[in-house]
Assembly symmetry: C2
Homo-oligomer: 211 residues x 2
DNA sequence: GTCTATATTAGGATAGAC
DNA sequence: GTCTATCCTAATATAGAC
């Protein structure tokens, strides 16, 4: 329950219906890295090709437009985190579910920082109708988070003077933006981030009453 | 102490030494709005000119390069929030200072959402040496936040089992990213956001012990 | 302070050979 | 699956008149 399962390499063409187009995974890795560093609009197809070690034109063997890369990354990001959080919640006992959700969300974020950062920050660069598709996937994920919190409220584990919707927004604020400052090479490992986020969100920062 | 003071209109050329270049405030407002909506790289000088109601070339009467706008917005954002939070903290009694900081930070964010969102999200598009300048201003602001929390720890108001640096990162996560979902037209007003953020950060989400 | 006109560079994307 | 060459559009920025 504490170990990060090795995220399975996505096999090409192992694509479920309604999912993102299959693309070579190294192309997605490279795109995520560049989009994160320079932004989607700030990344050129020349940079992408260079980072792949191929000519600019060869890129168009894999994609139709640059936006395909962004769309695929956004969909993959939401599918990944949705699956991982759902699995973690389902395998936990009800009183532990909020805690398990926090751990799974943080671990997914930190394991695939570039991809998730691109989803969070570059989503707005998508054009319709793919923009709407990704937004609705994101809203669905956020509803899942809210629903775990709402169950916690009904079970008496979570305070009820704040709406579950607002608790979900607060929790996602707290967890998501860790990608802005977290570095694997830094002083914290992912488990320490999980512990810290659980403490702040569940107990707050006032000193524990050791009365 | 609860009322938002009307942020003074910046008079043109009322620029303190070492500050951002003076630019017409409507140009900054328009830039902030477009940069937030489309990103810095995704916003064209044509869009900026059109939104100002002038021709594309006229823009260059006010600026040398598009980046001037981004730089000015970033500097202004950090100067504004630094001043407002400092003032709020100084006029509060020590036990209230963390609470006052949360209120001032959130109110500034929500009052100037576009400007602060651009600073948070588009900073990376600056080129050196202005990038380094803005980063060091941001780091200084974050140090101020950390230092208020560290004082709270020494005064016994804040738990000491998490380093003040990490508490600051957690708090800024929680507060900053509200700009992603907060809308003035929504169901929450700024004071309600302040209350909610204070509750989550200070007390956590477990039900209050009414033993 | 604004305009028309334009220079210049760089962008995404395609054609068609190998 | 990759290449060279190129198209076309749009970008930032400037020149110089009003």
């Amino acid at each position: 329950m504490e170990s990060q399962q090795p995220l399975p390499e996505q096999r090409e063409n192992a694509e479920p219906a309604g999912s993102a187009p299959a693309l070579p995974s190294d192309l997605l890795t490279v795109s995520a890295s560049l989009f994160r560093r320079h932004g989607y609009a700030g990344t050129t197809t020349r940079q992408l090709a260079a980072a792949m070690g191929i000519g600019k034109a060869s890129l168009y063997h894999y994609i139709d437009t640059k936006e395909d890369l962004l769309y695929t990354l956004c969909v993959r990001s939401l599918e990944t985190i949705t699956d991982q959080v759902r699995a973690a919640v389902e395998r936990s006992d009800p009183p532990e579910r909020v805690s398990a959700m926090i751990a799974a969300h943080v671990r997914s974020m930190l394991h695939d920082q570039d991809m998730h950062a691109v989803m969070l920050l570059e989503l707005r660069s998508l054009s319709r109708p793919r923009l709407d598709d990704v937004i609705s996937r994101r809203d669905r994920y956020e509803s899942n988070v809210e629903s775990v919190l709402a169950h916690g409220q009904r079970a008496g584990m979570i305070r009820t003077d704040i709406k579950s919707r607002h608790l979900a927004l607060g929790l996602l604020n707290l967890l998501n933006w860790t990608i802005f400052w977290y570095r694997l090479s830094g002083e914290l490992n992912p488990d320490e981030v999980v512990t810290m986020m659980r403490t702040i969100f569940l107990d707050g920062v006032r000193p524990p009453q050791t009365t």
